[in-house]
Symmetry: C2
Subunit: 508 residues, 2 copies
């Protein structure tokens, strides 16, 4: 043995960016015959710690035998490259990851043990550092769903999710907020509610999500109207100047583990109530909200399928929010069909603009939902007496004050812009006459996604009918908007194979 | 729209092998700007179905923006390449996977519903087709651990694991088998038991595993003595000619989902009793065994930590085996320290040979465990009266008949060979005098793995002491064997930092 420290010698590797997009999961590639793989006994699929001079990350290792890499090189996926903040050719050090101690708490939960607040903190700290892989995240979420969380645990989980992220601080005593528990295409009330509330001199610093599996998140829609990727400081200046904002939550780092958990939960298609509550409330607590109105749409093809489910969820939301000193109002709303006409970022933005500008053809359902939610916040913020909030919200829209305030907010965020219009479109028509009996929110959203939403912002669906409308054979039911022939064709094919997305009852 | 079928046009891609080893998980890479990604709305990390003219697989998609691939090419990991059985440049078709219906049964289990046999069948069929990703596998295993399985469900799970694999058929009425519920380094009784039992004219068609996270599986050790990757037909000829065999289970396709489940369970570090029972018994049922002896070593650093745990596990094993018409004998054995001297494929093989050849220095503990297990099978197979099995097993070894039979088995499997000896070795010595009070099986196994086992078959540990031995300062406790300086150095470094792997009590 001549080399006194084979460990240090072989564990330093030159980085190389592989331009491989693995989303949020850091991935590294090493040569099978690299000294480090032999010395450390690394096999493919192992979890490996990588330290750059700047940062540290735990990544999944795949091995290659090919000329893709030299034996002393390490290939990094885009996510690993970003986290490690390296430049081409820089050295990084690889090693076995530290033992993941917090997983024993998760194991305890699997076996039915109640978890303490400190345990949730440890788990969330490990997750935010990327030390949980998909398997371990799935184990956590399944344990939470199978064993459920009691009130203390739910508070502990929510608080832990807040603690690993940024937290907004405000001088104003009241900060209004709203949230819709998803699943309803086109339900884009947020820009309207924010503008109405801010126009009445309340503060509403709103952060929103991008779509994860839906055709549009509020941040995607808002981005067709104004920039949404603001720094924390920029966001605070917008709110100080205009009273409101609609920015992408991801850019200000609130509850950063939430998107990771949501991605895994979506694959499992598991609605764990506790996780949903913690997900919603952690973002509100981190944003410093004091008064929140929560919209829970109920419908057979919405996220919440029954009134009982909604009431149970409402109870858990209120109880937990209260422990954070946050007051909540719950609206259990009709989730049987999409709201407004547009489904897709720009198409929804056009609906929002029509309501702001009091157009004759502005979607009445969207306006109605927005004034209801805004009205509750106006009452909670003592801008209107009980029962008068909706009227004040309507007046704020009618008078143009909401639209003025929205333009000011967009200007402060970086400039109002015109949402795009798609190059191609094609109508899907009624195969026979009848009354609209059922609309499948989920499959309609799928058509919008196949047409390119939200990646192509102008793509999506324009809905021409609502429940109980009478249509004649050949009347357009909805129009598919797309940027390319391929996407239009694919959406049309799916629509053709799913003729019952909009079900018509004949009067027979 | 000129093209009548954009779907078919853009979804056919030319394959290219990426030489990327992702173990059992098929992975594909597509250009972000490829028409299929746009048309299908595929994003990174999506699950995608790939059909070749020969086969179909569900794979995880990563995207690239680089020149690695052309827009009409698809890069395949080694696992995807193998399953699809393609040649370079061949066309494959990609699409959204069929909806995974069986996941709703898993969701039901998460929420506490009892699963029917048919549901386990569906789940296992989907898993064996690669349609469950890591997240879904973790969800299944966590649900089984959190909600447990009753006797019917455990039977259903085991039976479903058998049904998706090959099944051995035998003319002989009795087929003997043995299994050790792992976790004890060096406990390599299988070759001895097989030879003793076969030499007494019983049939024992043994399939064994390779190491997943241990320094050696029985198949790894046996491979240093004879070929183990036999076809089903070859295995059956070996057994017809010699009465026994020791082959790698993976090559004959028994209970093919088991290795996948074990890999995920290891990451979770979750010992789900039901999964363990199904894992062990599904392989025995598939092998057509009628009489099985099960060795459950108990020790604080073994897989089973307490006698209570072992008894509970024994009950579940026996109850379930009985429903398959299989009779079982359970041995709860001492698992406080490694068995024999060697830890690592070839080092363990040398121990086995020493016992076969009745060497003076043959490890007595290994011999003793082997004759005990073999004796039980000889009694079960009515080759010895009750209480006389061990004596017959000892006589079979002493007389050389076991060694003769083992040589015949190795010849029939493709030829007996001499296990290799490592190029490098270094002793780890006692820092002071004392009595051996504790041996940490897990960390000792880790030293063996860092030294290169099982990838380097000659690498591993040679243990010089056992519990209660008195040693003097400077006496060798164990010797590390390795093929390269790097591995030797790394194992030594870990051993140096873990001086208490073998704990010595001083007489003070």
């Amino acid at each position: 043995m001549n080399d006194p420290d084979p460990h240090e010698r072989s564990n330093n590797l030159r980085v190389r960016c592989l331009d491989l997009d693995t989303r949020d999961r850091p991935l590294i590639v090493l040569r099978k015959d690299s000294p480090v793989c032999r010395a450390e006994g690394f096999v493919s699929h192992a979890r490996v710690r990588v330290d750059s001079p700047q940062q540290s990350v735990v990544a999944t290792l795949y091995q290659t035998g090919s000329e893709l890499l030299a034996p002393d090189e390490i290939g990094l996926s885009t996510a690993a490259w970003k986290v490690l903040q390296v430049r081409d050719g820089q050295q990084v050090h690889v090693a076995h990851p530290h033992p993941l101690r917090s997983i024993s708490s998760v194991r305890g939960k699997v076996h039915g043990r109640k978890l303490r607040a400190g345990e949730f903190d440890e788990i969330m700290r490990d997750i935010v550092r990327g030390r949980y892989d998909d398997i371990q995240l799935a184990m956590l979420l399944t344990a939470i769903a199978a064993r459920t969380l009691d009130d203390d645990e739910l508070y502990g989980l929510t608080d832990a999710m807040v603690n690993v992220g940024e937290r907004l601080r405000w001088d104003m005593p009241m900060r209004m907020d709203k949230h819709c528990v998803g699943g309803l295409p086109g339900n884009r009330t947020t820009p309207l509610v924010v503008a109405i509330v801010a126009a009445n001199d309340l503060v509403i610093p709103k952060t929103s999500s991008r779509a994860i599996t839906s055709p549009a998140g509020t941040a995607d829609t808002m981005e067709t109207l104004a920039p949404v990727s603001l720094s924390l400081g920029h966001m605070q200046r917008v709110v100080e100047r205009t009273g409101g904002c609609v920015v992408w939550g991801g850019s200000v780092g609130l509850s950063p583990v939430d998107d990771l958990l949501i991605r895994v939960a979506k694959v499992m298609d598991l609605d764990a109530e506790a996780q949903l509550v913690a997900s919603v409330l952690s973002k509100k607590v981190a944003a410093g909200s004091t008064h929140v109105v929560l919209d829970l749409p109920v419908g057979s093809t919405a996220k919440i399928r029954s009134r009982e489910e909604a009431e149970q969820l409402a109870r858990r939301l209120c109880t937990t929010a209260e422990r954070f000193g946050m007051s909540t109002d719950i609206v259990i709303s009709d989730g049987r069909q999409p709201v407004g006409r547009g489904i897709g970022p720009a198409l929804e933005a056009h609906d929002v603009l029509a309501v702001f500008q009091n157009h004759d053809n502005a979607p009445a359902d969207l306006r109605q939902r927005a004034v209801r939610l805004a009205g509750m916040l106006l009452e909670a913020g003592q801008r209107a007496p009980a029962g008068q909030g909706t009227a004040l919200a309507e007046h704020t829209l009618d008078s143009g004050r909401a639209w003025q305030r929205f333009q000011a907010i967009c200007e402060a965020q970086g400039g109002l812009r015109e949402p795009p219009v798609a190059e191609r479109s094609e109508a899907v028509c009624a195969p026979h006459s009848g009354r609209v009996e059922h609309i499948d929110n989920r499959r309609l959203a799928q058509v919008a996604k196949l047409a390119g939403a939200p990646g192509a912002p102008a793509a999506g669906i324009e809905l021409h009918v609502h429940l109980d409308d009478e249509v004649n054979s050949g009347d357009p039911l909805y129009t598919i908007h797309a940027e390319t022939d391929g996407e239009l064709g694919y959406a049309r094919e799916f629509a053709g194979n799913n003729g019952d997305i909009i079900a018509l009852e004949t009067d027979a």
